[in-house]
Structure formats: structure tokens, C-alpha cells
Subunit: 242 residues, 2 copies
């Protein structure tokens, strides 16, 4: 059974302010939950319609499909819902490639970008304070467990860029810039991706050393710019292949 | 006003079989509708809450927000909904780069891939019969008008691959294969991307000349494979940059 208080707690975790207040977040589905458990994340409570999780009884509740439906954030609930403690981030190490997000608002985009960091071995992801919360349930479902393997920090980007190691260059992606295919890209760098609608904010633009762009090959000038997650895939691929 | 018959027609266009039967599809929002008009697509009817479209009265209906809500496919309707005639595809020209999709099911993925074709100047997109319909409303909204600039054909992939020009090589993306960063990639080629869950089907695999892969740089073996739209971005970028 799910108690009234448990229901209330889970529902509250839809909202960033309550996730922060309680230090908890929600993950759903056997695959995602198992990945988070394997990565050593601390479990608060688990609700499942099938008793297939090897977890001690104090944290596990066997519930009905109907009850799961009442607490799930998904249109089609996936057997289990778990509440986890939000882990602490480590400090940012600016060696290797660091990805910086300036006000990414779409949870699907952030989820894809976290998966890309995991794929390309980017250990540090730095997000502006206005970037969507990475413990948003939609982000958690989109990351497929990658979230535990990327160190994510939310901070003021101007402060972060002001205190970085001096010889690390800062790259920003723009509609106009040097072709990412022609630049000699270093192993250690900071790469900034901007907001879906407005790109990189003016304050942050001033702190960029190199403006890069992904050249368009189609001849039609009306073509929309690439989606920011797709652009991130290409840019990280270019930094890593070289 | 929206008549009962008009409502019935529009609702029916949610479904592929009625889109096919009527030869019509729906697009929403000023930006997408204007792009489709500019590209010369033939309009069937336009419903708008504001009279800002330069279209003759026989095809235009000024309606209320409430009426728009009743016919819109979007959670937040965007001022206008248009019904267009589905244009005829041209034949497939297998020179340049041809992208082939083997059973892509997610409309968002297909929409992103159409935008990528437009960006990278890929003129022909060939889809298996089981691939999600490109006139699905979710695909139309995701393509942002790119759909008019890419020639999309649905066909049996085995037949298509059997009749292609002989010296055009067929590339398929796999979890195991030669690194896409190390292959010398030709200007003219056919590139196949597989289904989200199952990859490229066995029948089609047998017709592939070169198996390529995007190498993983992260050290963690548990990392999920890249999303197929993200992988397409990287693969098309590699073919075009060389």
C-alpha cells in the first residue's frame, strides 16, 4: 500500500523546490532503477507491482497496478517507481573536455546531452542556474542511468569561467563562427552550448575565446538551425575524434 | 466556424490510413504553415484565430480560440491549423548521399532526421514500410518545414537495395563495426540506420557492404547506445566533412 504521506511526498517531487528541500528524486522502470542501484545511489523507498528487486523489506512496498498509476509520472507506468537520495556532486575538474550549458530548458535535450557526455567520456557537465533541473523526472527517464556517470554542477557561468585554469580555452557554438571541421581542437577545453531559442547569453559570450559553427551543407537558406542536442552530438564527436 | 464535416475530416487525419485515403495532412502554427506555403505546397483549408495569412477566402476560416482547441493536435494550440495536400515524391536518385531508415518508430526521431537531411544537403530519404509516417502530425511539427526540402519515399528496402546503381556502396551502422572516424567515406553512398530497439533487420543486414560504428569514449561498459537520431547526426557529419 502507498500511504497518504508517501503519495504526497512523491507528488511533491515533480517540483524542483521540493526535490531540493527533501534531497530526493524519482526514477521509474526496472531498467533505470536497477542501473541507479548498481551505481550505488542511496534508495529511499521502492514501490513495485512485482517483487523482483533484491532490496530489504524496510524500503520495499509491493503495490497494485492501480496504486502505481496513482503515483507514476509516466503515461504508461513501468512496473516500479523508486525514490532516491540526490547524490552530492564533486567539484569541477577542468581537465579533459567540460561541457557547459547556458540555459537549456527542454528536459529531453538535457537528458540526451547527459547521455552524450557519458558516451564521449565527458566527466564534467556545468549548467547555468536557469538550466532545467537534471533530477526532473523527464530528464531522469531520458538519461537511462547515464546521470550517475556524469558529474553535474549548477553554478553561475560567469563565476565558473572567471575561475577556470588559465590555459584552458573556451569554445562557444554559434550560427556564425569558424568551421568545427577545420579548427584544430584541443583535448582539454570548455565547450559552451546555448539556449534553444536565444543561443549563448551576451554576458557569457564575452568570456569565449573561440567561436565555432557546424557548417550547413544544404543550399536552402531557410533551413532551421540544428536542434541543440543534435549539435552537441556533432561538436563532442569533433573534439573527441581529433 | 468549423463545420461538423470539417471537424470529422481533421480528426481523421490523425490516422495514417485516412491521410492516405484523403491525400491530406495537418500542420499547425504560423511558422510551419508559412514555410509549407512558401515551398508551394497546395493548401486544402486553413483555420486561424487571426487573419494574418494572405490566402483567398475560399480556403480560409477565421475561428475562435475555443474552436481551434477542438481541432488542434497540440496541447497548446498555436493560432492556426492548416490542411495540406500530400505532395508526390520524386523518384530516388542514388547519387550523393542517400539516408535509409529501417523501421524508425518514434515520430520525434524521424522529424529530427528529416531536419538533419535538410541541414546536410541529403536530398533523398528512403524509409521502410514500417517506418513511422512522415505526415504524422508529430513529425510535421518536429521537422519545422524541412519536410518540403527532402524527397521522402516509403518502399521495401530489399527491393530498393537490389535495384541501386552497382558501384554505390551501402553502409550500415552497428554497435560493432569499423570506426566511422577511420573509414574513408565516399561522396556517393547509401547509409542505413536501424530501428530504435532492434537495429537493422537481418534481411537488410545481408545487403550491407560496410559495417560502421561510432566509437565510445567513455570507459563505462553500461553506457546505453546513442539515440538513433543523435547517431545519425554524427554519421552524416562524418560523411559530409570528409
Amino acid at each position: 500500500m502507498v500511504s497518504k504521506n508517501q503519495k504526497k511526498l512523491i507528488k511533491s517531487l515533480y517540483q524542483k523546490k521540493y526535490r531540493k528541500q527533501h534531497g530526493l528524486f524519482v526514477a521509474e522502470g526496472k531498467k533505470v532503477i536497477n542501473e541507479l542501484l548498481e551505481e550505488g545511489l542511496k534508495l529511499h523507498t521502492l514501490f513495485t507491482t512485482k517483487d523482483i528487486f533484491d532490496i530489504d523489506l524496510a524500503h520495499k512496498y509491493i503495490i497494485t497496478e492501480e496504486e502505481l498509476k496513482q503515483i507514476s509520472f509516466l503515461t504508461t507506468p513501468q512496473m516500479a517507481l523508486a525514490v532516491f537520495y540526490i547524490p552530492h556532486s564533486s567539484g569541477i575538474e577542468d581537465n579533459g573536455l567540460v561541457l557547459v550549458l547556458d540555459d537549456i530548458r527542454d528536459p529531453g535535450n538535457l537528458g540526451t546531452m547527459i547521455r552524450l557526455c557519458d558516451w564521449f567520456g565527458v566527466k564534467d557537465l556545468v549548467c547555468s542556474m536557469q538550466t532545467v533541473d537534471c533530477y526532473n523526472p523527464k530528464v531522469i527517464q531520458a538519461t537511462m542511468g547515464s546521470i550517475t556517470r556524469v558529474n553535474i554542477n549548477y553554478t553561475d557561468l560567469k563565476d565558473f569561467l572567471a575561475t577556470k585554469t588559465k590555459d584552458i580555452k573556451v569554445y562557444g557554438t554559434f550560427m556564425e563562427g569558424k568551421s568545427v571541421y577545420e579548427e584544430k581542437l584541443p583535448k582539454n577545453a570548455i565547450v559552451i552550448m546555448g539556449n534553444e531559442a536565444n543561443g549563448i547569453s551576451e554576458d557569457v559570450q564575452n568570456l569565449i575565446d573561440n567561436r565555432i559553427t557546424i557548417p550547413q551543407f544544404g543550399t536552402n537558406q531557410k533551413t532551421e538551425s540544428l536542434n541543440v542536442a543534435t549539435a552537441t552530438a556533432i561538436v563532442l564527436s569533433e573534439f573527441k575524434r581529433s
